[in-house]
């Protein structure tokens, strides 16, 4: 991926001297293609690879948005629990002389 950042390359140029078997490279490239990270242009016998910046950024932004939603949810739960606790303490302080008959937990 780093190599492709410099621009379009053939498969050989992009993957040469990795010291990894050809099937392993093919598998990795296929995964990257499926993830939308790279595109492959077949020109006769030459396969050219190009980095697609858009989908990865988009995927990242997407996951970040969903992540933010969950963080907000955790925050909302936490705030609510704190309020509940404060209310409970306030109630207990007010009703100190007579124990409330049933303590809703």
């Amino acid at each position: 991926m780093e190599r492709l950042a410099g621009g379009e390359m053939t498969v050989g140029e992009a993957t040469g001297d990795f010291g990894v078997s050809k099937p392993a490279i093919s598998k990795h490239l296929k995964l990257l293609e499926e993830a939308g990270a790279i595109t492959r242009v077949i020109d006769g016998r030459t396969h050219r690879l190009r980095l697609r910046e858009q989908p990865l950024d988009e995927a990242y932004a997407w996951m970040s948005a969903q992540h933010e939603l969950w963080e907000r949810k955790f925050d909302a739960v936490k705030e609510y629990l704190r309020e509940q606790r404060e209310n409970q303490q306030l109630h207990q302080a007010q009703e100190q002389p007579r124990r409330p008959p049933k303590e809703s937990k």
């Binding site: 499926e34 993830a35 939308g36 989908p55 988009e58 995927a59 990242y60 932004a61 997407w62 996951m63 970040s64 948005a65 969903q66 992540h67 933010e68 939603l69 969950w70 963080e71 907000r72 949810k73 955790f74 925050d75 909302a76 739960v77 936490k78 705030e79 609510y80 629990l81 509940q84 606790r85 937990k105």
Partner: protein, 161 residues
């Protein structure tokens, strides 16, 4: 967010799943009930600072549904909904997650699993959101998310957070 119990951690476990953990200074029952409380959902879901949550419906039983609609001051609405698949108070909750698209058609269905693990003086909550749309279906179903992301940007959330 300033007290000591606010430890949070999130990991993007793959392109289509997400894991978020946090520890709460309360019992599993309290956290579970808060998690599914419509009032909490209403507060959470009004993402825009001046937004409201006109719809916050919860039918907490297996096969029951929930539905949440946020409305921005300009009237723009975004709705998510789903079905409760496992309801094991206070330890585990599994539900589906589905945006309603502007076109009215339902978006992709993903799955949210929440585990509540009780300890002596706190509860650890582990949320896993799996089966999120991959790149292809994101392209097809991007609109609900795009709108949602606009809201985050408006609130000053950074994508790199």
């Amino acid at each position: 967010m300033s007290d000591a119990t606010g430890t949070a951690d999130a990991v993007m476990t793959s392109e289509t799943s997400l894991r978020v953990e946090r520890s709460f200074d309360a019992s599993p029952e309290e956290v579970f009930d808060a998690w599914t409380n419509p009032e909490v959902l209403r507060r959470w879901w009004a993402v825009h600072p001046d937004g409201t949550t006109p719809v916050a419906e919860v039918d907490l039983r297996v096969g029951g549904r929930y539905r949440l609609t946020m409305e921005n001051p300009d009237g723009e609405r975004h709705t998510v909904g789903g079905e409760y698949r496992e309801v094991q108070r206070p330890s585990r909750l599994v539900y589906s997650w589905q945006w309603e698209l502007d076109s009215g058609e339902p978006g992709d269905i993903s799955t949210v699993t929440v585990e509540f693990v009780g300890h002596k003086d706190h509860t650890d909550v582990v949320l896993e959101h799996t089966g999120l749309p991959d790149s292809d279906s994101r392209d097809r179903h991007a609109q609900g998310w795009a709108a949602c992301m606009d809201i985050f940007r408006a609130r000053g959330f950074s994508a790199a957070a």
